[in-house]
Amino acid sequence: MTSSQNGKKQAPIYKVIMVGSGGVGKSALTLQYMYDEFVEDYEPTKADSYRKKVLLDGEEVQIDILDTAGQEDYAAIRDNYFRSGEGFLLVFSITEQESFDVLDEFREQILRVKNAEDVPLILIGNKSDLQNSRQVRQEVATDKANKWLKPYIETSAKTRDNVDKAFFDLMREIRNRKLSENNKPTGNRRDKKKKKKCTIL
């Protein structure tokens, strides 16, 4: 309640959403990024929101992370989350093939509710410290990311490997997207959502 009274300009907020099935380490990544700590105990998340100020390439920004429930019962209610997000970390565990397979579905849902062909998004393979029980090969994940035209990053919430990179890269993507959207005339957006082949217009 202070900042608005000061009349200080609010640092821009980047709304990031953690997406992925239960137990892949979304919360662990978030907590590691927010507080530099690794939580061993697993407790299913309902929906937690975190915010902190960070320096992104010299500019002060706020990152708002929404850590969603992997076990969300209401599929329909996920739409609401996705609509409010600007960038998405699609997280799977490299030790669990199924968590990797379901991401296509998540991505489709995101694109559908965002009504866009492309959103800022990074594919994250977490638990890279557990190489011995790896089930998803790096090439396979890279292939998927390439198919999506998105980056792939392997992280470890335990060792903090690549954790900062994942969040910062995503924030950069969001920033670029925001810049290009501001430059775009507003008319284009409506056409885009109707059908795929709008180039002829």
Partner: protein, 692 residues
Amino acid sequence: MEISSFSSELFEQSNFNVDDFVKKVASREIYASNITETKDKLNRLSIQTAEEIKHNVYKNYANFMETSKEVGHLEGKMNQLRQSLDDQRKLLNLFKNLNDGSNSELNESPNSKALSIQNSSLTLLLEQVEGCGVIAQKPGRTLLYHSDLEALHSDDYSFLHKFHAYLLSDALLLTIPQRKRNKSTFNSSSSSVISRHRSNSIINSAESTNTYQYKFHAFYELELVNIINIEDSKEVRNSFQLLKFPESLVFRCANAHLKKEWLECIENARKQLLSELKSKGLGKINEEDEENEDKIVASDLDKNKNLRDLFSEFDILLAQRDFEKAVDMLLRIKSSKPQTDSSHLLIYKQKESELINILRKDLTQSKERRNSKGVVKTGKRVVNSLIRLKIVDEAIDLFIDYHKHLNSETLRKIKLEESNTIYMNNLLNSFFENLRLSYLSFKEQFSNLINYCYSTYLSWCDTEIEILIKKLQSQHYLGRHFSVTIENTELIFLKATEFSNSGNFDVKFMFEVKLTPILEQSIKDQQEILIEASLQRSKLELENSLGNNEQNRQIQIEKFINDIQHLGLGDNFSQTDIDLIKQCTSSSLQFNRAALDCFTDCLKVYYQEINFTLVEAFTKLFKAELSIYNLYLNKSSSNNLKIKKSDILKNINLLDKVFRLIQEIYSSRTGLNSKHFVKVQDKIEKFKKDYF
């Protein structure tokens, strides 16, 4: 009987007769004194009686007064007794509820109260919140929790205002505190609850006095919102977020405990709601006759029955293939709002998809019968039905589907003709006629949805055009032979412009995009052919001692001059130019004529996209020609050639002239000046300077 001896008792006898009494008295010997005495006596008696009556009446009245006072008093007592019994009963209920709801222990916070689930009445809501009568009416809805909350700005967490929030079993209700609040009722200690009950029951008209504490502000169904826990940070503590895109509300609780309670209550409510929805939805579809729950009131029962009737009527209509009426029926069902009940919504969706499937099948069958009129009829009906049901995406898909079918059928039927022009004319005429008809019915059928579907329609047109061009290309009407390609392209553009000008949309640019690669390839091929031909001719010219050379040359001169006239370039050639032509060699004449021809052909179909290819091709062409003259000069210096240097100069002068002409018509047609052309021009100048 002595007259003076009678007493008042005599008059009080029941059988006292005035006439008899007078006769009796008169039958005796009468004296005046006796009569006077009797009269006095009677008078006295009369006065005495009147007084007695007066007294009695008063006494009666006093008694009556006393009794009524007594009755009133008793009544008051009775009332008091009844009221205190009432209060006692309520108190007992309250305590009982508090004891029963052991899991929902009393809250420490002064402004919040945990309510047991058994206390399902929404009376509190009705008492406290103005304008929530409708909310309290829904059967089965209960109040789970309520407390004050502070709303914060979702971006910077600045304080916005205060709410009092009520968690109902299926929704969250936000209310704003009223300005004129009654202080005694705001305190929620138990003694004040009692006092409020008492005062309410005695006055018995809460509505007449403005005792509402809160005013209705907003209502969120739990199914449709996300509740997000906001982790404590420097900026904000004890808060959670309600998300219903694009709305986002941040609430701050008075303390951490309160927040925990809120989140737990909401979570439980949602779980409960979800399981109810699941069991309801499944149960009803499997067993429609299942006993309805007590909660559902009679009117709902009727509504269910009505809906069921409507659904079965719909089935009958579908079986009778009366699609119009079936759509009507479906719309009727829709208007009776099955959305309020998930099971009905499911059945509705199921019926809807049944209808769509049948309509689709119908269309496919009529397509297979290869009867284009039938297809149009069925297609229109199907699309209209879908539009009425507001299933627009499906409608436009089917619309495109059947028009695509019509298009391919028509084009298939057009006979191949010997003559290129006749065939092209027939084909293009039918194609554009089909396009026109499809556009007409598109405008008619999607009149209200044109904005929504237009891009889909256009993209379909684009595909159709692509198919047409592919077809023409495969039959060598395009891309095979240069002049045929140019001729047909010109015809296509002409028809496309006609089509656009007669009130339809612009299609020429679609054709242009599709034709660009074909034209580019064609121009390049032609350029190569010309270079090759020129090379061959010059070789022959150099080797050959030229038997009938002069005769051949004369023919070429004639042809060249004819062509110039034919192309309408006569004005551009002065007499000296004509003289120059007459002095040039045969190969030079042939080259220049072919180049000029080719260039004017290209300009006939010129558009921006092929500009680069055009310029490039002619730049190469003239450069190649120039290098041939270079060869001539080299040979002429070494060998004793029949062709003299002066002849070569004349050839180059003609080349110069023609190239300048090409630049002229190029810039007059396109309004452009090409750098590449200027460079070639410079080369020609330099060449002349270097050698002559």
